[in-house]
Symmetry: C2
Subunit: 164 residues, 2 copies
DNA sequence: CCAGATTTCTTTAGGTTTCAAGTAATTGGC
DNA sequence: GCCAATTACTTGAAACCTAAAGAAATCTGG
């Protein structure tokens, strides 16, 4: 077997192993951090991650959002949001009312108590995240931000091409 | 207000917003790609992502793995693996037997049919991933690999410190 | 050997998640 | 005005997932 044939064997058939390894590494990082956040939220505040995420979306918009807005922002299905909101209204964290202008629409907001509780959790959450990324230099952080933005755009282009 | 006090206001209270934004961006990328892979797997092969992931683990080890191994590698709970394996044995993709040496241990392997089906799916999957990361240059890929490795190590350090 | 600790896996309860189908309200074309 | 299409949300079925408790087998230090 010549060196040529070996080299060809590796390079010719469009070897995409690097991207696959990159994807697995990205997934590992996310799973690792997400699992840690999930554990700490349960341990410290007895709250689930999806509930925290939903409250985080609402905290940014005091006037409230529709269920569809939440669904899009969280990138989860509509049916999922329905159940999540139901439980958070039940527990008093969320306030929900039907829109006057369009009675299909449900507007949800954090209650006073819900907002207070979220702010407490968010403050600690931010420290956890800072600690988990703590070994990265400011330059690393900037560079990672840039590359992930590029990755997001690339994935969106690919997703659109399929759907399109 | 002097320039000094403004500068201090930003720098003193250990503002960790950058890391939080980085985390959200990381999560967005992963969710986006994962959702796309999930859709395509369902559409093309009528298979769920968790099943694909489990088969991917087993494909790497022809002699099979224990449930605990799978659980660790996939970073999911034991109980979760029990159910997943049950359904994949049911559908004929997996073979399962109790270890002779240690009767607590269940060893699972891909069946011939399961392996054949997985290989078909994996080949397309690799192309999807390559396309989704397609706008990144080889240098981008290398740099992202490096930064994610650093991120993983940092998160593990933080997780360990808590559990410690 | 043997009692206690550990390991491996299963079970249970409670949530989360998707997809698909269904209901209700609104919009747009005619 | 009226009907079809669209939009917003809910419901139902099945799968996925975790945490915690439990069962069975193995290991360990007397």
């Amino acid at each position: 077997m010549t060196l040529d044939s070996e080299t060809k064997a590796v390079e010719l058939p469009e070897h995409h192993g690097d991207e696959l390894r990159l994807w697995l590494r990205l997934l590992t990082c996310t799973t690792l951090i997400e699992g840690e956040v999930r554990s700490r939220l349960r341990e410290r505040f007895d709250v689930t991650l999806p509930r925290f995420d939903l409250m985080a979306q609402l905290d940014k918009v005091p006037e409230g959002m529709t269920l569809s807005d939440v669904s899009k922002r969280m990138m989860v299905s509509n049916g999922n949001v329905t159940g999540l909101v139901e439980r958070l209204v039940e527990s008093g964290h969320l306030d929900r009312r039907t829109s006057e202008a369009d009675r299909r629409v449900q507007v949800i907001r954090l209650t006073k108590a819900g907002r207070a509780e979220f702010r407490k959790m968010a403050a600690e959450h931010e420290l956890w995240i800072a600690d988990m990324f703590g070994d990265l230099t400011p330059k690393d952080v900037r560079e990672l931000m840039r590359l992930l933005a590029k990755t997001k755009a690339s994935a969106q282009r690919s997703a659109k091409a399929r759907a399109g």
